[in-house]
């Protein structure tokens, strides 16, 4: 061991140091029990406590030892300690992988994690310890799997899922059945080959094996597909299939397990199996839906105890899973149904902070779970008692691949007859290639009774298939996607236009269907929506939100995100906005300083300049348009705050009005085409913002704006707060004033100091808020600046308040 670490430390890279640290931590943890074994026994555990009290006190004569200042007692923290060590290792691994950039681009995370697991298993074995049975089925199914599935179900994109539900069900049910029987049957045939030495494996164990190995695994699919960013349709098809085939797997597994003990299956049993499948699937969904509604209803009353809101989501979902498992229903489907059902109502009821908490917790747990699962797979591989049988293993791998391909192709052929958007060959290839197997298969195999089944051989084969799919298919799918130029996931920047038009089209199609007298799926969707709006929402959503139409809710969400981004970018919107520049009362101060206006011409603002100004203002509004990231583990959307939304919306509205007004005053802009147009603008782009191109917004014939609505926040160094009213009718003086500026500017192309005031402290405005800061500065400065001849100080400090 020392030699190995020595070899590693010769490379001086921080990431390796991190990996090493992880290894040491884990090793230390597992080696400590060796030393502490003796003292561990003495503790006896808490169960013995009561028994001890009843014992007669015979041990009074304990010899007095020196009081132990420092002692070592590992036994009673052993289990939590080791669990924490594993979790820590998993998280450190995750950190480490992302520090090595090239690696994470080539190899999917799942492969790396399995390798780490293999390594750890090897280390533990070399240390002479017993490898803990980490992928214990109970641990897996009760602790490791639910967070991942809940995460998937809660964030399931409902619309594409429902649109493709038929296809997904076909793949999940028929595809899995086909896989199971094909693989099982042909394996049995392969077992009959005399050289294989497997003739004692009956047909039913083979079918059982087939049903275990044929299910596409959601964990593996999630892990790999999340990194390749494939388009939404394919993602939802493969992922949906992996989720929904759980019901099939459960039924087949129990069916074959039961009957392989008996030894034969009758037609009646087959029929019962079908019924059982329906019960398992629909029952699971029903249980999940019930818990989902319970959770939504509970969330209606949490307005006073916001802190525990996330807890309800998690606990109800977990209860749904466990309840389904009690009745041998499909726990995965229950979990998915619960998450999907409760989400719209719960999100309408809970606070934004709770929403963030839920999102982060789900992502965190599912991330850790996934990492642990893969590591444990690696460890369990090292540990397992393997029985390698060439025939069995190779035929399993080949048959799985072949079955998948044939299944997908033939199913697509049938499905395409019913689909509007057909699946192309490329799609089919990706679907077939994306059928990864994972830890669920392993755990199911682990559960087998080794007396009736050749469990070790099965496990070896399962592990081989898992490794093959995860490593080979997982690693090559990304280059293949690029090679085949499969459509990638588009930026899900759902604009308000899209939302409006999509709703419009929904209504349109419903109407057309009604005219044709055809009860298509738009009709039913519309009916469901109506029912939802009328009854369900009122019942489950608190207060006013229940009546909020979807479009408005969407719009509000967008505005909030926009607000939050503006605030985060440091522009501090409400105070630093380019205010409605309304000029008012400028004339009392200015005229004495101005020369006679008669000779001044009123040049028009060049179209280009005006365009630029408009662009700046518009980009101001649009710059921080939200980017909705995909819901993958690595990126999470920034969450909007709740506070001050109304205020923000109001100000936003005013800002929009400002934009409107500025657009409307094209003819009245009097800024002449300054010769130094470009230097002016380019200088304006610098943070100093000394030069200004302003928009004197006098002579505005538009509606008068509220003079009280904005004021520019006066900054510390004496920038006056100007309140300028667009509607002010006092044009001539202002014009002259501005003319002065222009003249002054022209005179001072190179020397900036004299004319302008000090730029307001661009501190708060600087980070990212350059545009609007400059706008604001421009406006302020121009209007308050009296011109070269005037007394600068006098005007600088006077606030032009209305």
């Amino acid at each position: 061991m020392p030699s190995r670490t020595g070899a590693r430390s010769s490379r001086s890279r921080p990431e390796l140091g991190l990996l090493l640290l992880g290894m040491f931590v884990l090793l230390g943890g597992s080696l400590v029990p060796l030393g502490a074994a003796s003292s561990a026994d003495a503790a006896g555990g808490s169960t013995g406590k009561d028994a001890e009290c009843n014992k007669t006190k015979t041990e009074h004569n304990i010899t007095k030892k020196a009081f132990p200042v420092l002692s070592l007692e590992y036994g009673h923290v052993k289990v939590p300690f080791e669990i924490s060590l594993w979790v820590l290792l998993a998280s450190l691994m995750k950190l480490g992988f992302h520090l090595i950039p090239r690696l994470s681009g080539i190899v999917p995370e799942s492969c790396l994690l399995i390798s780490v697991g293999l390594l750890v298993g090897l280390l533990i074995k070399l240390a002479g310890e017993d490898v803990p049975p980490v992928l214990d089925s109970k641990l897996f199914f009760l602790c490791l799997l639910p967070p991942i599935i809940l995460d998937a179900g809660y964030f399931l994109p409902i619309r594409p899922f429902m649109e493709n539900l038929g296809t997904i069900l076909m793949f999940a049910v028929v595809g899995t059945l086909w896989n199971a029987f094909f693989v099982g049957g042909l394996l049995f045939a392969a077992c009959q080959i005399p050289q294989a030495g497997l003739s004692d494996v009956g047909i039913l164990p083979c079918l059982l094996f087939g049903s275990i190995i044929s299910a596409v695994d959601p964990v593996a699919v999630l892990a790999v597909f999340e990194e390749i960013h494939i388009n939404e349709l394919l993602h939802i098809l493969v992922f949906g299939e992996s989720l929904l085939n759980d019901a099939v797997t459960v039924v087949l597994y129990h069916l074959f397990e039961e009957f392989s003990l008996v030894g034969s299956v009758t037609v009646l049993d087959g029929f019962l199996g079908v019924i059982s499948f329906l019960v398992v699937a629909l029952g699971g969904v029903l249980v999940g839906a019930i818990y989902g509604f319970l959770a939504s209803f509970t969330s209606r009353f949490t307005s006073h105890t916001r802190v525990i809101e996330p807890l309800f989501v998690f606990v109800y979902s977990y209860m749904a899973y466990l309840s389904a498992e009690v009745f041998h229903l499909s726990g995965i489907m229950a979990l998915i149904a619960c998450g999907a059902v409760m989400r719209p109502y719960v999100e309408a009821n809970i606070s934004h902070k709770s929403h963030t908490t839920i999102k982060y917790f789900l992502k965190m747990w599912s991330s850790v779970s996934e990492t642990l699962i893969f590591i444990f797979l690696g460890v369990a591989t090292v540990d397992g008692k393997h029985k390698w049988n060439w025939t069995f293993v190779t035929s399993t791998v080949i048959l799985c691949l072949v079955a998948r391909v044939i299944g997908v192709v033939s199913l697509t052929f049938v499905i395409n007859k019913f689909r509007i958007v057909k699946l192309t060959t490329k799609d089919q290839f990706i679907i077939a290639y994306g059928g990864l197997r994972g830890a669920i298969a392993f755990s199911l195999g682990y559960l087998l009774d080794c007396r009736h089944f050749p469990r070790d051989m099965f496990l070896t084969a399962i592990i081989t298939v898992i490794f093959f799919t995860v490593f080979v298919q997982g690693m090559t799918i990304k280059p293949l996607v690029d090679l085949l130029a499969v459509k990638k996931k588009q930026e899900a920047k759902r604009s308000i236009n899209e939302e409006i038009h999509t709703q419009f089209l929904d209504h349109l199609l419903t109407g057309i269907e009604d005219i044709c007298g055809h009860y298509g799926h738009h009709h039913w969707k519309d009916k469901l929506n109506r029912f939802n709006k009328k009854y369900v929402k009122k019942f489950l959503i608190v207060g006013e939100r229940s009546k909020e139409p979807q479009l408005i809710a969407f719009y509000h969400k967008m505005e909030m995100k926009h607000a939050i981004q503006m605030v985060e970018s440091g522009s501090r919107l409400p105070s630093a906005m380019p205010s409605t520049v309304s000029m008012q009362n400028i004339q009392p101060k200015i005229p004495p300083a101005l020369p006679k206006p008669a000779e001044r011409a009123l040049p028009q603002l060049r179209k280009g300049r005006e365009e630029e100004i408009r662009k700046i203002l518009r980009s101001n509004l649009q710059r921080t348009r939200q980017r909705l990231h995909s819901y993958n583990r690595h990126t999470l959307v920034a969450d909007p705050f709740e506070d001050g939304l109304n205020e923000f919306l109001l100000k936003k509205q005013k800002m929009i009005e400002l934009d409107k007004k500025i657009k409307e005053m094209t003819t009245y802009l009097t800024v002449p085409a300054a010769a130094a147009d470009s230097p002016t603008m380019s200088r304006a782009r610098l943070a100093s913002g000394r030069h200004t191109d302003f928009i004197p917004a006098h002579q505005q014939k538009g509606k008068p704006s509220d003079p009280q609505s904005y004021h520019v926040r006066p900054t510390a160094d004496g920038v006056p707060s100007i309140q300028v009213d667009l509607a002010s009718p006092d044009s001539p003086d202002s014009v002259k004033l501005l003319d002065e500026f222009r003249q002054a500017e022209k005179q001072e192309q190179d020397e900036d100091q004299g004319l302008m005031m000090r730029p307001p402290s661009s501190g708060p405005n600087k980070p990212g808020g350059k545009d609007e800061a400059k706008e604001q500065q421009k406006l302020m400065r121009c209007l308050s600046d009296p011109g070269p001849g005037a007394d600068e100080d006098e005007d600088e400090d006077e606030p032009f308040l209305p």
Partner: protein, 194 residues
Amino acid sequence: MGSSSSNLNTIPNSQELMQETGFSAAHLLRLYERFEFLDKDNKGHLRPEDFEAVQELSTNPIGDIIIGSFFSPGQETVDFPSFVRILAHFRPAEKNRTRDGAQPEPANSSTGKLKFAFQLYDRDRDGKISREELLQVLRAMLEMQVTEEQLESMAERAIQEADLDEDDAISFDEFKKSLEKVNIDHKMSIHFMK
């Protein structure tokens, strides 16, 4: 198909209609039956009142807009060929249809469908969706559940997002662009009319 072809003869210009819209004989017949069902007084053409008799349309927020789309501007009646032509927009598009450049864009292609939807917004047929037109549609869809200011800010935002040439209105190309992520073919097809 013997009986249907004998009924097909009662439909005037059925062959041309099938050619033009791409409907099959069975579909055309079904549509004709529906037309006759809607046309309660057997007038041979439909009036707005016939459409309004369809119960579900009255609960549809944009029901009036849809009914209006069937009638060409200025006309009070719609006959069977026009009825079919409008509905042809909602046929699922066929891929890889070779057609020479001389033929007009088929009604059920993506562009044809989008054009139809665009016309629903653009009442005055000036080729642009103005702010007022957008507001009207929004008002209809949101059915008095929101304040006028909210409507206006939404319309404002929508136009800002979509309006690329900054003429304060949405042209057909901008409309098309804002819907580029939506699968129009899927969204605007009624399945049975294949």
